[in-house]
Symmetry: C2
Subunit: 119 residues, 2 copies
């Protein structure tokens, strides 16, 4: 058991679209990521995914609408729903999803990370 300071964890990396694991509970991982630019369209067939915005403004495109999330806002993306995150400026995210989740979903892409790093 330890106190996990988000600012401290975010200070340990600068690369974009590389989620890092900072905690685990009940088969879920708590992750953080810095993102900037456009990600790829993907979904997670069996996993709901939570995005909480720590800094910045994130747009999430869905096939039928776009949500805009500011600092202090979150949304849950249900399993199977295609989405594409877009960050015009750098955004700091906290993610919560099952330990099994790949961040590019079922899409194999150069952005797909095989093994996520623990911070």
């Amino acid at each position: 058991m330890e106190v996990i300071n988000l600012n401290n964890k975010f200070s340990q990396f600068n690369e974009h679209w590389t989620p890092k694991i900072i905690g685990a509970l009940n088969g879920q991982h708590v992750k953080i990521a810095k993102v900037k630019g456009e990600f790829i369209w993907h979904d997670h067939a069996n996993e709901d995914e939570l995005f909480l915005i720590i800094k910045g403004t994130l747009k999430i495109e869905f096939r039928d609408r776009t949500l805009t999330l500011q600092e202090g806002e979150l949304c849950v993306i249900p399993k199977g729903v295609e989405h594409k995150p877009i960050a015009e400026e750098e955004v700091w995210l906290l993610l919560m999803e099952p330990a099994s989740t790949k961040h590019t979903g079922d899409v194999e892409h150069e952005l797909t990370q095989k093994e996520l790093e623990w911070l």
Copy 2:
């Protein structure tokens, strides 16, 4: 799917030690609570629990130590670990735990809520 604004959700209640559900994913609930004063010693036999501090300073006593969490800090309390949260001033918390979790664990207490409200 919707944007959930934490400040907006916190503005909707003032009572202490009454977690409200604001989201659900993968069998877990995302909850928020305002707390002040001392809670009771309890544990959750089968459920890990995440505390993220949105505002204020929370002490969590364990049988062998005390952690102090500030705004922007989180900790995960593993299943079976007895703990007692203490807030000298009001604290705003975000919690993540299985939908089955009672906030007083296996302890039946006047603070135990039978049915949590969705905000």
